[in-house]
Symmetry: C2
Subunit: 480 residues, 2 copies
């Protein structure tokens, strides 16, 4: 397929991760998870859009907290994506995020069209996806705000429903038809949803859109002037995709509003293409039923699991052992620091657990034991009074900032690869089985000079071991 | 109560731990667990028998694999118990273990009487227990093999049932009556068990006994000559409670036989005292219902648990977070390296999981991440290719053997206390935040010279990291 040279893709990757807890965390949301198959959801989304546009025309819309993890996961395309991150200072729902990306695109190409899609959906049937986008792009050039409609299979109350105007066929291509939108109803009650389902003339809003960047900006200005006005100033100050300083403060003050309720429900330009690919927004653990491969007893099992006679259950383990006996329609999710057990039918209440943890200040809602950084990652193996033990992985060629800590000393033992260590005035290399100590108040740096990963065990000692006890003198990644 | 000066207690502490997995392990069975209250089951058992005999007259019957952990848990009485361990080379069920202990007692005191009780039962009502033992001791002096009968509350098929001969009242004391035994039936089928329950004239065999040591040896010789003959030789070679060399090989060849089936069912000397204390052998997770305190929803919850609306469930966590939603009559047990989830009604199948793990050679059936040694303990924090990270705790005044490893180097970082390190020819002290490296093929020793515990993080590097890569030159605990 010859792709439209004005078409760009905008992957919305700013969502937070409450409903797939404990696999997702506030700082490690669903899009970063390997929920199905070898690749994470954002990697699958990236591959999907590459059928429609080259990587250099993919924009990633995200927040500062997630940018490092996403850059790591999309490392394969790091050169093409280098300048393509649009980073919101803070998530403000989809309308501001889309406006920001649209302004960036108009700056690059006044005729830019944008395919907007969440980073964390599962779609099966990439060819049909591609065909739908092609028809959508055609309608977008004509000034439509194009949505993609999925045929409903249950009276879901969490989605928007779209009724097409069957008498207003806008275009046809590759067995697909685009209609004008008759009605757009966000999150109906159960009775209404059931009626829509029976009628056969309502579609779920997939949350995927195509439009001209300038058109969506016009419509946001028309229907959400309170958001659009400050955004014009904010967008003008956008540098390399980052909103900084006063503009960031203004962005944080924006009222969160979704593009669906804020614009699509109101706009007369809305069009809809009923699609024929399989789609799931994998909204909670039980929705894996729609997409995950299951064994003969209807279980979706992964990781180090020993099961005796369960059925209809989702058991998600990693390296730790999980033994299950006789479970019926249950969800068991095990991670290094937290385990969830609940009936499938209660999956939607997982967010309540996350709310409780947040109120308690429990670290398990916020992040995993493994945290990704631009230079690699670290895993907390144990914390106790006065000490913390981490395994630190430094990517080939990566290096941490030149830094010092006021309140802790560190000891490093190399367990894989070669480490280049700066400690005070000295620079030296350590191989596997070699170690060094870094006293507090001493400038130091850890670096991987080789093309293999470097792994060390770090033992920290001190009265205060927070990540914020750090003074950075120089950093390859612009951090302070 | 004035205690009989010929009375000894023998705590049977050789059981293996399959039914409380993952909290129990093959090398860390139920008796070592803190299942109810502040103390572990063997500690509770020790306190109970101290109402009847002084600590110097308590014998611990166990196996080499468990002796260190038991000595650690009974450390409060270590001086009195020093020479009171009778260590079977390998568990051979109760008859050989009891015979061995009886031979040791007869050697000490030809008139010895022995109160025999498993280390892992829960009893509530220590005064009534004491009264029952007093009456039992009286009957034992008259040559009876005294059992204690518990009134059955369900048609349990896993226990032995005892019918007293109501016309043969042997003695009465403190509202208790001792009867001759009419019948002794081991593990009846469900129909029979239900009939016994209805009849009101059968009692569960509690597995607790009192008899004269010489009497039980006579009865074992009469009913189990194939066990008794080799045991006479083995017992003659018993030194400081340890069966070594050829005697150990002979012991391992003994056919395992229980005292119940092997002797009690057959002996005409059997007597039974119906008891009035609450008793549970806590045979599996669901039996906690009988003894554990529960919340208003009938849940027994401990550890770091967040629950939303569960009822009738057992949720056992430790430091890791476990979140449960809407569970009904489930068991969830979480440990650092393994998690179990099953309906209460399937608790008895936990042993099948353990069998599978054993066949797979999975380490999770064998021991915990934390392993107790005579000098303290260690916890494996992480293992990977070529490295292992441990936290090592050395008790005040404790020291590891002088040792070397052929295939690994070690690095030690002190996180608490003071370490005295021997490394090659040097001996030096390290404080918190200090570290040292031990190259392979180097004699070394770690020692805690202080009265506070010492804790270090140990990072091992090498191609082989098994515990058996150790050459011991000198050891305070006689290990080779």
């Amino acid at each position: 397929m010859k792709t439209n040279k004005h078409l760009y893709a905008v992957i919305l990757a700013g969502g937070s991760g409450t409903r797939f807890w404990p696999l997702s965390r506030h700082l490690y949301p669903k899009q970063l998870l390997r929920i199905m198959g070898e690749e994470t959801l954002i990697q699958q989304t990236m591959r999907r859009v590459l059928r429609c546009v080259p990587a250099s025309r993919v924009l990633i819309s995200t927040t500062p907290a997630q940018a490092d993890s996403i850059r790591f996961q999309l490392g394969k395309w790091k050169d093409q994506l280098r300048d393509n991150f649009v980073i919101e200072p803070e998530a403000r729902n989809t309308a501001p995020a889309i406006a920001l990306a649209a302004m960036e695109l108009v700056r690059r190409d006044p005729d830019a069209m944008m395919l907007v899609l969440p980073a964390d959906h599962i779609i099966k049937g990439d060819q049909r996806f591609q065909a739908a986008v092609a028809l959508g792009t055609m309608l977008a050039t004509q000034g439509h705000l194009v949505t993609f409609g999925v045929r409903p299979i249950r009276p879901e109350t969490g989605y928007g429903y779209i009724q097409p105007n069957r008498r207003a066929r806008l275009a046809t291509r590759a067995r697909l038809v685009g209609y004008a939108v008759a009605r757009f109803v966000e999150k109906p009650d159960t009775t209404t949803a059931a009626r829509y389902l029976r009628s056969g003339n309502y579609y779920w809003n997939s949350g995927i859109f195509v439009w001209r960047a300038s058109t969506i900006l016009d419509e946001i200005a028309r229907y959400q002037p309170a958001v659009a006005r400050p955004l014009q100033k904010i967008g003008a100050g956008l540098k390399s995709g980052v909103v900084a300083g006063q503009a960031a403060r203004a962005y944080r003050r924006l009222t969160p509003v979704s593009i669906d309720q804020g614009v699509m429900e109101r706009s007369s330009r809305a069009a809809m293409i009923p699609v024929d690919f399989a789609w799931s927004d994998v909204g909670n653990w039980s929705s894996l039923d729609e997409v995950a491969p299951r064994d003969r007893s209807g279980n979706a099992v992964s990781g180090n699991v020993v099961d005796l006679g369960s059925h209809g259950s989702i058991v998600y383990a990693d390296r730790r052992l999980v033994a299950t006996i006789g479970l019926a329609d249950m969800v068991v999710v095990d991670t290094p620091d937290a385990t969830l057990v609940c009936p499938k039918a209660r999956s939607q209440d997982v967010r309540k657990v996350v709310e409780i943890l947040k109120k308690q200040g429990a670290p398990e809602h916020l992040e995993h034991r493994t945290v990704f950084r631009p230079w690699g990652s670290y895993t907390v193996l144990e914390e106790g009074p006065g000490y913390k033990v981490k395994r630190v992985t430094v990517n080939p060629g990566g290096r941490l900032s030149l830094q010092l800590h006021h309140r802790r000393s560190e000891h490093w033992v190399v367990i894989q690869g070669k480490a280049r260590v700066t400690c005070g005035p000295r620079v030296f290399d350590l191989g596997v089985g070699q170690s060094t100590g870094v006293p507090k108040e001493t400038r130091h740096r850890l670096e991987n000079p080789r093309s293999e990963p470097l792994e060390i065990i770090e033992v920290q000692n001190g009265p205060y071991l927070g990540e914020d006890d750090i003074v950075r003198f120089s950093d390859d990644y612009g951090r302070r």
